[in-house]
């Protein structure tokens, strides 16, 4: 029960003043700029954009600064800001096959067209803290290669040539439900699940993806492909003469390839899980793809036995703004609820004592 309580205005005001001071920290040290956050904490910015579901580097950097680096708080700020903006409409679907690649790897084919390009990755680093960075260093100019190569085709298209993998599926004519416009109703379409997963909490999806690897809904995943880069965004604006490119966004796409033993309807073949998220967010895109595949259990006629296959469980708990809201509300005043419970427990104890009292007397008498 919530009962409105007044009071504490002065305390709240002073607490927020204190917060502003602590956020700034030692004022003899230069203040962080948004450009510094956006440029040097770029992957934090990417996570806030992805889970805040708003592509805007500057706003995400501001949110991180305001939240003192608490990324879920920053995501909350971005989500709140989103709600103040009018909605212009949907973009045309982005074409990830035309991505300006900054990274592209496959764990299934060594020599695939376009090659394996590592890009700016943490992979193969030794995970040793670098004291040089603490001192401030000027990095070497990146190496460049001007060898021409063929276009990097999708790995799924290579497997598709042999008919060994399911297709992308048909685009249906109906508009999928949009969770930002209408409340979710289970069961969900795969499109709607993907929308929820794309903004879902990285840690939650990572843990669920991990659970599928450890045997809770095992589906033998391979990273068919991970690609990171910029894609063009087109928007239909009649005043501009139709569909027009209005900018680019950086995205990470993951095609997870999974074994499938076949069913009455389909021969044995590889199936796929799909991940698409803002920015350079490889762990998130992979986790999303693992969860997407696990959640297709019903569609593929697999037994639903594990948490990662339970759509209502996964999607209802993947949003960290909702989760933190409900968990953190517990610290708000619940004085009246607690008083009621306190009264109840006292009464129950009294009843308990009263009902056990005669027995004790009886025992004593015996």
């Amino acid at each position: 029960m919530y009962v409105a309580v007044k009071g504490g205005e002065k305390a709240i005001e002073n607490a927020h003043r204190l917060l502003a001071d602590r956020r700034r920290g030692d004022q003899s040290i230069p203040e962080l700029t948004l450009d510094q956050i956006s440029g040097q904490l770029a992957l934090a910015v990417d996570r806030v954009m992805s889970e805040g579901s708003l592509y805007d580097r500057e706003l995400a950097a501001l949110a991180i600064k305001q939240a003192r680096g608490d990324l879920i708080e920053a995501i909350f700020l971005v989500r709140a800001y989103r709600t103040t903006l009018p909605r212009f409409g949907y973009s045309e679907p982005v074409d990830t096959s035309e991505m300006k690649l900054e990274r592209r790897i496959s764990a299934t084919y060594k020599d695939l067209p376009g090659g394996q390009m590592l890009g700016p990755t943490f992979d193969y680093t030794h995970r040793l803290l670098d004291p040089g960075l603490a001192m401030g260093t000027v990095p070497q100019e990146p190496e460049q290669s001007h060898e021409t190569t063929v276009k990097a085709m999708r790995v799924s298209d290579i497997l598709a040539q042999e008919g060994l993998i399911e297709s992308d599926g048909e685009a249906s004519s109906r508009e999928p439900a949009d969770i930002t416009r209408t409340p979710m109703e289970f069961p969900l379409e795969r499109e709607t699940r993907l929308q929820a997963l794309s903004r879902g909490d990285e840690g939650f999806l990572l843990a669920l993806g991990y659970s599928t690897q450890r045997g809770y809904a095992r589906n033998h995943p391979f990273v068919g492909e991970v690609r990171i880069g910029e894609v063009e965004v087109s928007f239909h604006a009649p005043e501009l003469g139709g569909s027009v490119i209005i900018g680019r966004v950086q995205v990470t796409e993951c095609q997870m390839v999974n074994q499938f033993k076949g069913s009455a309807k389909a021969p044995p073949q590889f199936t796929r899980g799909y991940g698409l998220v803002f920015g350079q967010s490889e762990r998130k895109a992979m986790s999303m793809a693992l969860c997407d595949r696990a959640l297709r259990a019903g569609e593929l006629g697999e037994d639903r036995v594990a948490p990662a296959q339970d759509e209502e469980f996964v999607i209802s708990h993947s949003d960290n703004v909702q989760a933190t809201g409900f968990v953190e509300h517990l610290k708000l005043p619940h004085y009246v609820d607690f008083q009621a419970e306190l009264g109840l427990v006292r009464k129950m104890r009294a009843d308990h004592t009263a009902s056990s009292q005669p027995n004790t007397d009886l025992e004593a008498a015996e």
């Binding site: 048909e170 490119i245 900018g247």
Partner: protein, 154 residues
């Protein structure tokens, strides 16, 4: 049905917006300043910042689904000689979008369009291509060359 001339106008408009929206804001501002055109104009609509819901496709080529929003800003302007221009770009930089709309309006006149094409859009296109080429070459340098370890026993 639009006739060919109208089609051409629409096509030019889309090409312009694609270039202006993908150019680095700093390069855009610098090139615009160098152009030395600064016509008087009035705002017809906006500038308005809102959300564009971005769609992807399942598996890259399947059914579309929205995967998040992006901020976008749009504006319409009218020059004193009644030429009207529109612009829309990702982000919240109203100044940049307004300049783009002014450029769009200017381009409704053939002479201005010629000047803008050669002195603004051409250099902007070159700078976009150069930036993309540099990044692409940097990525290409991280391409893995596999070699097989020859094991003995022959």
């Amino acid at each position: 049905m639009m006739d060919t001339a109208e089609n051409q106008i629409a096509e030019d408009r889309r090409t312009r917006m694609a270039l202006l929206s993908q150019a680095s804001p700093k390069v855009f501002a610098k090139q615009w300043q160098q152009l030395g055109i600064d016509p008087e104009f009035e705002i017809l609509r906006g500038p308005e910042t809102g959300l564009v819901s971005l769609k992807g496709r399942i598996g890259g080529g399947g059914a579309p689904f929205p995967f998040g929003d992006a901020t976008a800003t749009r504006v319409s302007v009218r020059l004193v000689d009644n030429r009207v221009g529109h612009a829309m770009m990702l982000g919240r930089d109203t100044n940049r979008v307004t300049i783009a709309a002014v450029i769009d309006a200017l381009c409704q006149n053939a002479d201005d369009r010629k000047k803008i094409d050669s002195e603004l859009l051409a250099p902007l296109e070159a700078s976009i291509l150069e930036r993309d080429a540099t990044r692409s070459a940097q990525t290409a340098a991280t391409r893995v060359d596999f070699f097989t370890m020859v094991r003995g026993e022959d």
